[in-house]
Structure formats: structure tokens, C-alpha cells
């Protein structure tokens, strides 16, 4: 089991490293990730949402639905812990 896991880990790690060979340079300002959608957020954040903090405006306005989902995740975990851990009644 131990050797199987080590071999799986090495194969997965090797596959991931093979994938990074074509990745953009670290901190490259012209990478596709930084030039496709993000300039829209930076340029229009103030006029659309009146917030200079771009992370807040993306989190709460442009992608607010993800934040609603994240709140639901916390709620689910809370309900799950109550379901699992509450000591049962006295009779």
C-alpha cells in the first residue's frame, strides 16, 4: 500500500510538473490570465460598483453568486456538525 501510494504520488507529481513546462513565467504581466478578463474588472470597478477595492467588487458584485454558495457551504458544515455531534436526549 505504501509503495503503491508513493508510486502514484510520483506519477501524479511528474504529470503535474510536465504540465508546468509550458506555463507562463512566474509574475509575467502579459500572461493570458492577466490580460483576458481581469483588465475589465480593474478598469470598470469604480464606475460599475463605486468601490476602489477590486477584490471586494469582484467578490460581492461580479461573482457574488459564488459568495452566496460559499456562505451556504459554511451553513451546511454548521448544520452537519449539529446533526452529527449533538448529544441525544435524556429519555
Amino acid at each position: 500500500m505504501k509503495t503503491l501510494s508513493i508510486i502514484t504520488g510520483i506519477i501524479a507529481g511528474a504529470a503535474l510538473i510536465y504540465g508546468t513546462l509550458d506555463m507562463p513565467k512566474w509574475a509575467n504581466p502579459n500572461s493570458p490570465a492577466s490580460t483576458h478578463v481581469s483588465p475589465y474588472y480593474l478598469r470598470h470597478s469604480v464606475e460599475d460598483t463605486s468601490t476602489p477595492n477590486v477584490v471586494t467588487s469582484v467578490l460581492a458584485d461580479y461573482r457574488g453568486y459564488d459568495t452566496l454558495g460559499e456562505t451556504t457551504v459554511v451553513f451546511t458544515a454548521g448544520m452537519a456538525c449539529i446533526l452529527l455531534l449533538r448529544k441525544r436526549g435524556r429519555g
Partner: protein
Amino acid sequence: MFEFICDHYNYWAYIGLMMIGFYAMMTKRNLMKKVIGMNVFQSAILFFYISMAAKDGATVPILEHAHNGHGYLPIDIMQYVNPLPHVLMLTAIVVMVATLGLALAIIILIYRRYNTLEEDDIIMQLRRG
């Protein structure tokens, strides 16, 4: 060659961290160590996302007020870090913490029932009936 390593070593570091977490999840026989390995694994993915948001010489993505108090300086996108991966990872951190909480609740249930957290002892208890 050295250039190439300098440009990509961050990705390799996070992959190494990920594989350490993966190894801990798969091979350790104590349930608590598996949970810790799971946490390390997910944290490495967080670092990976954050590292793709970086830009050379850029600052945090909060737009600066102009000096006279009205309006904002002309926005140069090269000056600010990419905000989207940071937002995604805020959500992923919350998901990670929720999963961790649930895993710990399950560990409490297992401990109440079997009085041990070693997987080998639990399997022996199950076998004995």
C-alpha cells in the same frame, strides 16, 4: 536553462507540497494525520492559484485616490495584481475550512465509538466483532 528554472520553480515547489500532502493522506495510519495531509494538499492548491495572479512590480488591487481627493488616478493595469484568483481562493479557503470542520466532527464520532484513532486498531476491533 537556469532562466527556465528561475521562472518556474514556484510551480514545482507547490507541486512538491501537494505530493507531501497526498502521501500523508494515503499512507499514514492515524486518522488525524490523514486530515492534516488533506489540509496540506488543499493549501498547496491555494498557493498555486495565488502565484498565477502575481505581476512583476505590481501592488495590491486597490485603486488609488487622486491627490486632490476627487476621482482616481488613471488606471494602469500593469500596476495592479490580477484580482480574480484572489477572489476564487477566498471562496476555496472557506470550503477547505468547512471540510476540515466536518472531518474533525466525524473523527469525534469515531473516537466516541472505538476509543482509538489508529486505523489498524479500528480494523482489529471491527474484525473481532
